[in-house]
Subunit: 365 residues, 4 copies
């Protein structure tokens, strides 16, 4: 596979790791070579180490890879490493990899709030990757060896929340009030053990530890402008935008649904039709860059009264497309709408792969 | 059963009708004698006419009742008639019953918006029954025969929404901004055929026809004051309160969960602890009147981070208690909280029975 | 699309019809041109007529086809017509089509028991299509116009049941005792309205009308030999094989699981390993014929203790592969095993398409 | 509470322990005083130690009990101890309790196969308690202190399987062939963590570790006669009865459904009606003894074509009643039928409490 970048996956036996492996199988630009997991799995063939729970079969390309421990020494040949590590382990491991000069795209929450770490939803704020470009250029200019770096994938439900906001803000100006109530899929809680069956059969759980804080905080970083020197992002202040999230777990395997309400700062607010048109016409930069996984239609605006629904819409554009429906006026704010995003693809591993494709397109790896 | 009032049920084979029958079985004050359903069922024993779908067994008291057609002539002996009729049939039938002098407590939406028809959540606005008292007194004063009347049970999710608001408004003054996103049980859609299995397995439906409009409108009637002459309710105006609802169907059999946010008009807003204390201390008038089904604890304030949950909390006080949890500050409005109510008991048939108990306590039947 | 056969679908808006349309979209040998449905849908664009419930999006190739009534006059150009009609309508309509000289592959039960109508599971008994070949040859020899014919797709769970039996019987001789207990997906009950949500949430239904009789009868036709004159099938007698089925509906969208036990007539019975090897080595005739949809691995033998499972295995070979696991000795009969088949693909519409591919390969259309 | 026996529960925070606590709350004959759990919970109030997952609220009687470690020294005052311990811990702990002279009714599998330990389904083989009576009498006759003893509750699905067989065997003689395919509720797998949500949403699992062996073995002990000297049970031999089980997990919270087939040794076999009548007329000894929890109707024979169903029938007689439906002839054996039993009541904790009531009625505690 001449010309392909070598990829590694950390946390390869976990739910996000499994999804990375699926997405990297037969990828035109990346060749999956190194899989890292716990010492319990290290030394085994991947097929023997993993409890595969994806509905797609385990790709042959990963079956016989011998699992390594999560140490940078085993990942030296990698141009890019995708981390699906649990937060308990990600902090130390990813730091060690970065200090070893490795480029990491991480789904863990550990470094999301670091000023100089881009927190990216690839269909929303790819320009924040300038932080990495600026870091590489600086090192180069200083004759230093090429530094490693960490790029963080956003929280899964935040990805769905901000996706439609980007084009709306670009067109109609700032949003100063935003609420979301989520109905989140259980795959978001992973498999070890994940959401217990007894808790989600004939039930919902009105609580996901830390999720609301993540959504309320991360939205203010993702939608924020870069500092002039491109070394960091200038967080939006509470005065600029108030975000309120309420998160629930429901009996859905994949696909987070969010009931959002928003208010534009500028008066008068646009019409429902203007909002719909704006969303339909939005083409993300990743698509313009020709990235393999970038959805042609970033936001699918649905007209049926009862859509989007996870079962029927989560796989649009292979899970990279975000669906928005029931766009209507809100008696309290300006608009109410229902947003659906595939929580393990555009909400996690998929974003990671698309971020890597953007890095490749910008020669940052 | 000396001293018991005679009760009838309309729409006896439907989901709400079945719940009325369960609640009226062995009731200390009501004796179920007459069951009305479609012509298809009329003439049959109830046990042979109904496709019983309740998890409690069909009460023996109803088993052998011969089903009648829904005509007032068959219900003459009834002191009170509970209507679980579908809206398509309720309008004409309930009108005919009222004009025949019969007292009806109806779960149908048909007359909810009529000025002189009380729309009651028995743990919230029993005082609106003064409209009926005033009507009966007027007829008596004019020497006219005792008139029939219709009292409407609110929409199921509205009942859960307004239950905690009543004590808060009494204590801290008006609420001027209110949002709710619901996760509603499928029993709310009835059984003929109700929500199709294929639509709710590994899925949610972000739409319930007419529900948002009902919640936004009915809240403004239930929380409104009576007119001085007690002939009607003075609806709250949009200036007084803005209500925004987003309704979803989830894979739960019974129990509507609602993620609500609210803002008090008066500044400063109370503290979280003050809100909790207010809710805990609230005792509904129905309990003070000694009504059989009135919950001792109207609002159960739960402290666990992940409660209330339908599976674990819907049956508090046999479904008459409303649970509130996760009471916390809202970055946009004042407070966010999760409310759970049993949609076919305090949200429908249960409210009907409790309304009848209040009527009995006030000698209005 | 030169060289492609023209296809039509009857019952196009139903669940089986929708699946035919998905499978025929971009098919290398068939071009979908005519869609038939009820008079309510006739005259509308398909996209406006259907309530699309498949997890894959509605193919563009079907979107704008104007729906016809189910009359042969509108299907004259069709080389093959796939019928997903409900049994209530299939009888008369399919007869009219056959008498108009049209070739029909039908999923309806109406003609399955007719002596001269082949009942086909394409990976099991394609040789029964000789009945059609013989009928066409006879007409040709008699100088008559080319007759229409009906080929029936088997009952969905019977397809899964007989798939592993074919290779076992070929290798180890007759099976004289066969039991199956099914755990069947709700998509098998269609969408109008299909299994009610309230019946399948936190529940199973130990009954599927007519299913056990279908399984016990159809098995004896599918596994039977052709009569010498190839005009019909000589049903297996109860002395030759006793079949006992118990059918249940479970909360699974697609994929029927069956717990089967079987006994070979010949003694001694083979070993577990011999059974596994036999199943692994089996290659169906359709694959040998080069049919587009034929699975390379007809029977997937799984070694994990808890497999097959619908969620993880139903899509093997795009739903044409049948999975068998937990092959073990049975204290009462010879062997017990778990069989999983995709009930709307190899169990219904998929089989129909594969049958048509076999007809094409044998120049019977 | 004068006259009540003192009860203790081991494994009090687990799923079976929680069910024991619910059943013992307000029990007329037992007063719950001592709760044992892991060292992690010991010393805490029960309400603070447990993650309560029952749909009924935590009984006040257990709320403030300080949890003890599972050592007999803390249970000295107990007349009876109910063990919901996990098998990993039950072996050593229950042995220590027995050797300390304590009477234990255990839901763990550890001692079920010991010759001198009765394995009891209280509505089926209470006579096997003679082993305990005989042991107590012997000790008494030898002037030894009163010995402790262990009585085992059967495997949950075995309880449902054997319940209808007892009356049939009594009336029509031995059963020599018995098959069962189970559709088992997830509560049977406990809560730590129990069946993962991702494995049971839109899925079934055709495997429950060790379950089939338990059902096939335990049936032969429960249905067997006592040895003449009443010191043990003479297991039924494979020549006397062949039992074949296939076990599956389905998306049901409580209530195991079993599709069973059986053949009587004696010819001719009875008729379907004779089987129904026999089951209807059966009254278990526990009811004759006046035991509090004994179901008046041990076997509920249901006539609807699609019953029993877990959601509608599991709570018959508060979960102590077993429902049997679809009794019909089997083309291979004699009869097929569907059996439903509440897996945590008559299948576990409920049986334990009923066993204790029988012991009490027989003055064995």
């Amino acid at each position: 596979m001449a010309g392909k970048k070598i990829a590694g996956v950390l946390g390869a036996t976990g739910s996000v790791g499994q999804r990375f492996i699926l997405l990297l199988a037969n990828h035109p630009h990346f060749e999956l070579k190194v899989l890292g997991a716990s010492s319990r799995s290290a030394g085994k063939k991947y097929v023997d180490a993993v409890n595969w729970k994806q509905t797609d079969l385990l790709p042959e390309s990963a079956t016989d890879i011998i699992v390594s421990e999560c140490k940078s020494e085993f990942f030296k040949e990698c141009d890019i490493v995708f981390s699906g590590l649990d937060a308990d382990y990600a902090g130390a491991i990813e730091k060690e990899f970065m200090e070893a000069g490795i480029a990491i795209v991480s789904n863990a929450k550990n470094y999301r709030r670091e000023q100089d770490v881009p927190l990216i939803v690839p269909v929303v704020n790819p320009e924040h990757l300038d932080i990495v470009a600026q870091k590489l250029d600086t090192a180069k200019a200083q004759g230093k060896p090429r530094p490693g770096f960490i790029i963080c994938i956003s929280n899964c439900s935040t990805a769905g929340l901000v996706a439609p906001l980007k084009p709306l803000i670009e067109k109609f100006g700032p949003i100063d009030a935003l609420t979301t109530t989520t109905l989140q899929a259980i795959s978001g809680a992973g498999f070890s053990p994940g959401v217990p069956g007894i808790d989600i059969l004939d039930n919902i759980i009105p609580y996901i530890g830390g999720e609301e804080d993540k959504m309320e905080w991360e939205t203010k970083k993702i939608l924020a402008p870069l500092a002039e020197d491109k070394t960091h992002v200038k967080l939006l202040t509470p005065e600029e935008i108030k975000v309120s999230a309420q998160c629930n777990r429901v009996a859905v395997s994949d696909g987070h649904t969010e009931c959002i309400s928003l208010r534009f700062k500028n008066r008068p607010a646009p019409s429902v039709e203007q909002v719909k048109t704006c969303l339909k016409e939005y083409v993300c930069d990743a698509y313009k860059l020709g990235c393999h996984s970038a959805p042609k239609q970033t936001i699918h605006v649905l007209e049926q009264p009862d859509r989007p629904q996870p079962r029927l819409d989560r796989n649009r554009d292979s899970g990279y497309g975000v669906s928005v429906g029931r766009i209507r006026e809100d008696p309290l704010l300006d608009f109410k709408m229902v947003v659906l995003s595939h929580n393990t693809i555009i909400g996690a591993a998929g974003s990671g792969v698309l971020i890597a494709e953007i890095l490749l397109a910008r020669n940052l790896i």
